[in-house]
């Protein structure tokens, strides 16, 4: 409609008939009038406002074009004082138009309408008002025109920025990640808790100069018992009920080791003092499984033998281990006990970390928890490995890895270690 009008206006201007055009377009039978009667009034309620606004836009467009297609003289302006009034009207129309630009398309149309090089309003004013003005009007018209141009350019630029910013903002809002959605979790595994405890124990004893050695799980009774000062029919064998291997007749009997202690003997047979080893591994006792017993479990045996090791060094080492393993607040006590291969023998207790020594069910209301057995190597053991029992001394200990893990992590059932339920395994990454 606007382009039809412009074509019409162009022709009319060439022929000096702009009044006809004005009457045709703005008169009672003009297009805005017909829009009012035929479209706006008959439109449904929700469209009416829109149509009416479009119609007013069309009227102001026509008005401006009509005005700027004429010279000032034709418009009846012949005194400089009348010039600002004309420009003031235009500025008002521009301001209201730019207010209505809500996107890049609107703004593009408006920009062409006002700043277009040929038919833009400002080009028209230059052409029709400025160039044709009398010298006395020209100065004011020129000033007003520049001021209007500056205003239009600034306003369009500002509008442009705000439209761009709004568009970008909307796009970013659309693409914003939901931080609460999960990322892609690649599966990752874990070391078994028993393994983690082995590594922790190894770390502590490596720092004290202990070398790690391993031995067979299938042993002979000699290494598992006799050479550790547990002869046949020794009552200590009752506490270590043993699995025996079914071997062809005539073979040397073998058993599943009941502790990692046989490696004490193997090591001392091969090596003269100083000896400082730890032996991690699986051990087997024929106990019916329950929350605290498994017929297979894990131990770390320790052995240190030299010419200058006494109970004091033993005590210092054990206390160091307990502090490193359970934390610096852990208190240790050594309680006399009995093992056939150590003398003196002790149980190493730590103050109960559940009740802090006040007494609870875990520590059977004693304030202390039994951690592991240990002691000074019994001189009888040296006899089996041809060490001079009058010249060397040392200590040994047997850490129950599963028990220590249970205590440290509050695991009430040892069977959990060997069921390998991933819901258990995942808890210890």
């Amino acid at each position: 409609m606007k382009s039809t009008f412009l074509a019409d206006l162009k022709r009319a201007t060439e022929w000096g008939q702009w009044e006809r055009v004005r009457d045709n377009w703005l008169g009672p039978a003009g297009i805005p009038a017909r829009i009012a009667t035929n479209w706006v009034q008959k439109a449904p309620q929700n469209l009416r406002h829109l149509l009416s606004r479009e119609r007013e836009g069309l009227i102001s467009f026509i008005n401006i074009r009509l005005q700027t297609s004429q010279t000032l003289e034709q418009l009846g302006v012949n005194h400089p004082d009348q010039v600002p009034g004309r420009f003031g009207d235009l500025r008002k129309i521009f301001d209201s138009e730019i207010q209505q630009c809500i996107d890049e398309v609107d703004l593009g149309i408006d920009k062409t309408a006002w700043l277009g090089r040929r038919s833009g309003v400002l080009a028209q004013i230059t052409e029709n008002w400025l160039k044709t003005s009398s010298p006395e009007l020209k100065r004011v018209t020129g000033q007003e025109l520049n001021s209007l141009r500056a205003h239009v350019e600034a306003a369009i630029e500002e509008r442009q920025q705000s439209i761009t910013a709004a568009a970008e903002g909307a796009a970013l809002a659309r693409e914003r990640v939901d931080l609460s959605l999960p990322g892609v979790i690649r599966p990752i595994g874990s070391r078994h808790l028993v393994r983690q405890t082995f590594e922790e124990i190894e770390r502590i004893f490596l720092s004290l100069g202990f070398t790690v050695v391993e031995g067979p799980e299938i042993e002979t009774p000699y290494y598992n018992f006799e050479a550790l000062n547990i002869p046949e029919h020794h009552p200590a064998r009752d506490t270590m009920d043993t699995f025996y291997l079914d071997l062809p007749p005539g073979s040397e009997p073998h058993l599943l080791r009941t502790h990692t202690s046989p490696m004490q003997v193997h090591t001392m047979e091969k090596q003269q003092p100083p000896v400082r080893i730890i032996v991690p591994g699986k051990v087997y006792r024929r106990d019916n499984p329950d929350a605290t017993h498994s017929y297979m479990f894990h131990q770390v045996e320790g052995l240190a033998v030299d010419t200058d090791i006494t109970f004091c060094e033993f005590k210092g080492t054990v206390e160091y281990f307990v502090r490193e393993f359970l934390g610096s607040a852990a208190k240790t006590r050594l309680r006399p006990s009995y093992f056939p291969f150590t003398e003196p023998s002790v149980e190493v207790d730590a103050n109960c970390f559940v009740c802090m020594g006040k007494g609870c069910r875990l520590c059977k209301f004693s304030g202390w928890i039994e951690l592991f057995g240990a002691g000074m190597v019994d001189p009888a053991v040296y006899g089996f490995v041809n060490y001079d029992s009058a010249g060397v001394s040392g200590y040994a200990f047997g850490l129950g890895v599963d028990r220590l893990s249970q205590l440290k992590y509050g695991i009430d059932d040892v069977q959990l270690f060997f069921q390998n339920d991933v819901r258990f395994l995942r808890q210890f990454p």
């Binding site: 004893f205 299938i218 071997l247 004091c312 005590k315 059977k364 819901r423």
Partner: protein, 715 residues
């Protein structure tokens, strides 16, 4: 052992409350499990170590209390009113087997009246878990709990010829014991017999036929000493453990036999009346002089590392009955480093037979807390296990690939093990398994892995990746052998459904890819299509380790192409594949299961070799160029053949050959498949020209056409 606090107080003044006593006793090695209240007063529940049979009595514990409290132990004495007639005239005792029975004492009481025990006696017995029977039997039990020596009372009138013969059981000899069970004996068992028959199992349990009843008038009171090993063997073989056998097998006090008998006779006399014949019939073949022991301060310092003053040593050893006496030259100098003590082993402490044992006695009563703590410097470098590094890297990579480590008990079900057992392997069985399901040491970790997968699948955990570093067991020429192995198991989804990606099942390609990533640590894994019976026939293979003759050639960065490594020989180290349906059904595994196992030791060897052979490869400054070849091949043509055909061209600029896509159907004729091969070219010296590249391409195409009958896809 249960101990009544009030009963202890009859022998020693106790300056501690029961709770304090618990702590004090524990700290000298008499572990007290707990303290409870009974109708007979506070009760201490002792958890005794097996070397301390002397503490299986109130008097023995009282001695420890006296030593730790430095108070006086009341000496034992009893007044026994005897009639003039001597016991020796009333009965005779003969020991035919002095190796089994070292002492036998008999006292004779006449005209007793067996009846229910008085309340004070019943109360104590019941508080200690002993049923009250009648005053005569209760007296023997009471004195046993008091003094630690088990005794037995016979109804003397039921003993044939009223005499005792201690002898080995005859083959097939039977006796009905007090618990009403008829037991068949064997010749290693020491029996108490009369002139005619066995009337009790020595040191274990008396016989029912000579039991004391309310009609009993005359009593023969046995108080004997039996050889600990013999009692232990008999008690185990007969499956019969009693208060008596526990005491004898740990070592009762032979000197106490007569003392306890005197106390017991006095108590029976007091409770049941009658008269006690004079004296005791005492056959004592095991009598010996007390053992002389020596303790030196030098040795005490060598073992304990800190001094204990003379006064403490003498007070402790004195209170425990060792009668210490300083014997060194300078005995007038207190706390001399040269001090020596002569001691005498008390008959109740046969566990203390060496200087080391005396040191322990001193140390535990002196207080282990009084010895200072020291660390000792190491004289040697510490070392981890030889393969620790290889194991670390392996574990780390498996975990990175998403596998959880498991630890399983290697005792398994024999039939299940057989499903996975490689041909020719003799499994290692256990003679005395706890259960049929755990009767065999596994010959492979696969059986444990199948169980771990099944456990989880049965608990709704459907996507699993597990590994175990453990051992497999077998018999080799009749001798047991342990092999270190790595076992892998996976099932379910390789990728979970999420907002960012879709779900995908774990498949053979996942297993192979993961294994090849592991193999790269040790050189390279090669694959060979042979399969075991547990494996799915078409989605399985053997794993070979290409580590022998390891060395690097050329400038390639792609170990897949085999240009880093020249393989002189491959060793089979394991197998991988989908679990055969037949085996999966046995474990009720209802989804596809993938398993693999390989030997840890060859892997670790390969790791060491690969690590020592690894050197930096200069990174080419010139661009690498990819060319894709879409070829149609006959079914059965392997990718390896494609790679070999290309490698055989000897084009040094080829740095990798990869398979990018593979499909059948659509526009591909039946019996053929389409493979998209991506070849990457790069020169360490120049930028490759278009001319060179098209020359390489045409040579590759013609090699594939001529060697493999491939046709280039043009669409």
């Amino acid at each position: 052992m249960k101990i009544l606090y009030d009963w202890l107080k009859e022998f020693v003044a106790i300056p501690f409350s029961p709770e304090e006593l618990r702590e004090r006793l524990s700290l000298v090695g008499i572990a007290v499990e707990g303290v409870s209240e009974t109708s007979a007063g506070p009760l201490l529940d002792l958890d005794l170590t097996i070397n301390r049979p002397d503490c299986l009595s109130h008097y023995g514990v009282a001695r420890e209390v006296a030593a730790l409290a430095r108070s006086e132990l009341r000496p034992l004495s009893v007044k026994l009113a005897e009639v003039s007639e001597s016991a020796a005239r009333a009965t005779r005792v003969e020991i035919e087997c002095p190796d089994l029975c070292g002492r036998f004492t008999a006292r004779v009481l006449r005209g007793v009246k067996a009846q229910p025990s008085p309340d004070w006696l019943r109360q104590r017995l019941e508080a200690l878990g002993q049923a009250s029977i009648n005053n005569v039997v209760d007296a023997t039990n009471y004195v046993m709990l008091e003094l630690g020596h088990p005794m037995h009372a016979f109804d003397m009138d039921r003993l044939a010829e009223r005499r005792i013969v201690v002898r080995r059981a005859r083959a097939g000899e039977k006796v009905r014991t007090l618990d009403g069970v008829e037991r068949t004996l064997f010749p290693d068992v020491c029996v108490i017999a009369d002139a005619a028959r066995c009337v009790g199992i020595g040191g274990i349990m008396g016989g029912a036929e000579t039991e004391i009843g309310f009609s009993t008038r005359n009593v023969l009171l046995e108080s004997a000493w039996f050889d600990p090993v013999s009692i232990r063997r008999s008690s185990k073989t007969l499956g019969l453990r009693t208060e008596a056998s526990t005491r004898f097998e740990r070592g009762a006090d032979p000197e106490m036999a007569e003392v306890a008998s005197r106390h017991c006779a006095a108590l029976i006399h007091e409770l049941a009346g009658g008269e006690v014949l004079a004296g005791v019939v005492d056959v004592y073949p095991a009598r010996r002089e007390p053992l002389a022991l020596e303790l030196s301060r030098k040795e005490l310092l060598r073992v304990m590392g800190a001094n204990v003053p003379d006064g403490e040593i003498e007070a402790i050893l004195g209170a425990l009955g060792f009668a210490p006496r300083r014997t060194d030259q300078g005995r007038d100098t207190p706390d001399s480093p040269l001090a020596r003590w002569q001691c005498r082993q008390p008959s109740w402490r046969q566990d203390v037979a060496r200087e080391a044992d005396l040191i322990e006695e001193v140390a535990r009563h002196y207080g282990l807390d009084k010895f200072p703590s020291r660390l000792h410097p190491s004289k040697q470098p510490a070392a981890r296990l030889p393969y620790a590094l290889a194991e670390d890297r392996l574990r780390e990579r498996l975990i990175g690939l998403g596998y959880h480590e498991i630890v399983s008990i290697p005792l398994v079900n024999e039939e299940e093990d057989a499903l996975f057992r490689p041909a020719g392997v003799t499994p290692a069985r256990v003679t005395n398994p706890l259960a049929e399901d755990a009767s065999l040491l596994r010959s492979t970790g696969l059986v444990s892995m199948a169980h771990a997968l099944a456990w989880n699948l049965n608990r709704g955990q459907r996507s699993l990746r597990l590994f175990e570093i453990g051992r497999a067991y077998r018999l080799q020429n009749g001798a047991p052998e342990e092999t270190r192995i790595v076992t892998i198991g996976a099932t379910g989804l390789a990728r979970q459904q999420g907002v960012a990606e879709s779900a995908r099942d774990y498949g053979f390609a996942d297993l192979k890819g993961d294994l090849d990533q592991i193999g790269a640590l040790a050189g390279r894994f090669d694959w060979n299509p042979e399969t075991h019976s547990w494996q799915h026939p078409s989605r399985s293979g053997k794993i070979l380790l290409a580590s022998a003759g390891l060395r690097r050639v050329g400038g390639s960065q792609d170990p897949e192409l085999g240009r880093w490594f020249v393989t002189v020989g491959n060793t089979v180290i394991g197998a991988a594949g989908q679990l055969a349906t037949r085996v999966a059904e046995r474990f009720k595994l209802r989804q596809d299961i993938y398993l693999a196992e390989f030997g840890l030791d060859p892997f670790c060897n390969g790791f060491g070799l690969a690590r020592s052979g690894r050197k930096y490869q200069p990174i080419s400054r010139f661009p690498a160029v990819e060319r894709d070849f879409s070829v149609i091949l006959n079914d059965g043509t392997s990718f390896a053949a494609v790679r070999e055909a290309i490698a055989a061209l000897g084009i040094a600029e080829i740095i990798s050959v990869e398979a990018v896509d593979l499909f059948r159907g659509r526009n591909i004729p039946p019996g053929n498949f389409s493979l998209l091969v991506r070849v990457t070219f790069q020169s360490p010296e120049v930028t490759l020209t278009e001319g060179q590249l098209s020359d390489f391409s045409s040579r590759i195409i013609s090699a594939l056409e001529q060697k493999l009958g491939a046709t280039l896809r043009t669409t």
